[in-house]
Subunit: 160 residues, 3 copies
């Protein structure tokens, strides 16, 4: 059976709206191209409490087992997506964030300023991506090979 | 003086027993070949409380300064070895877990799904390895060059 | 406008004094050569409470937006600079510590024993460097390309 990825895309931004959120749209497209279903797409302000609330609700929904965020992972004062993610995950998956930074570091040293986090709540995997369309494309490509297997393990569909 | 490594090997598994725990046996063999003494070997269920209890007791024993775990570092719902480890360490040693993931990533992107942690409690170093015999062999090879120096530092046997 | 880096250098050591603290002196020199102003330089004992107190006070000063520490990041019992740093940061910047370990690992596997942390408190970036003059030089070289941009983002001087 093909792994069933049921995704949500969350854009953290104080200024973007659905009609100009290129990174969110790119992520939805990449997910669908990878065989995932996208069940939710939201734009949330760069506000810690609002982000925690949104990620918490999405992670606990039965029809979602993957949340990809874009934006809010940098050094600006209102970049708090990693802190919101850390607040709701039960088990960290540091290897995903490390791989993203390690592989994007080949292109630019600025990759080390990405503060993205990845982790698990219940059977939902949450991964922070950077805010730019190019950034989400590069990062999705890095995690794409492991996504199906990760979700299968979370859903206890393997004996691995 | 040669560094004196006094090790314990802990296998986290719901199903394995001493007579079919290949990974645990491999780890014991690798440790002895590296000049370490192996003072304890246990199999513990993939249960957070039980793992915390076991790691806590082992770390506080005078005749143990290194605990290598195998298993329970993945994405399955009962994989909680990193959480148990994090609960008992006093000082994290993130570079060890990063090096393991980075160097095994060359062989397979699945390395990024390993959630292993490394850290220190008192004078005991605890390192999480994956569950497969091949995985423990590869990971041991990565940390072997630094193990003696790490234990020497923990035991305050250097002026470094 | 050129980014204005206002730095403090903190040496964690039980034995060093200002007149024999080569690593601290090297760091001051590297910062000035990179265009930064160095507003404070201190030597603090390898004591958790003392380090927390010092880092906390420095981070909250208006004339400091970068704190570089040297020393106390290893495995010796009194190496607690990462723990002190973690205690006062509000947002972790794991990519900086990962990059430092990854890039120095090419020279020696001992790099994996470095437990350094990087993170943000208010508009101040704190980065732990190792204790040796050679170590601080190598590590500074790794972060130098991103330092100006990081401080600009923290000070909200960009629209990135």
């Amino acid at each position: 059976m093909k792994p069933l990825i049921k995704a949500a895309v969350v854009t953290a931004s104080d200024s973007r709206h659905l009609d100009d959120d290129v990174s969110g749209t790119v992520l939805v497209g990449l997910l669908i191209a990878a065989g995932a279903e996208v069940h939710e797409r939201l734009i949330v302000k760069d506000d810690l409490e609002e982000l925690i609330h949104t990620l918490h609700e999405l992670a606990d929904r039965d029809d979602i087992n993957l949340i990809l965020t874009t934006g809010g992972t940098g050094f600006a004062p209102r970049d708090v997506t990693p802190e919101a993610t850390r607040a709701i995950i039960e088990r960290e998956a540091p290897g995903i964030a490390e791989a993203i930074r390690r592989e994007t570091a080949a292109a630019t040293p600025m990759a080390m300023l990405s503060r993205g986090v990845a982790g698990i709540r219940g059977n939902t995997l949450i991964i922070n991506f950077p805010g730019s369309p190019r950034g989400v494309t590069e990062c999705f490509e890095i995690i794409r090979p492991v996504l199906g297997h990760a979700i299968d393990l979370l859903e206890d569909r393997t004996n691995h």
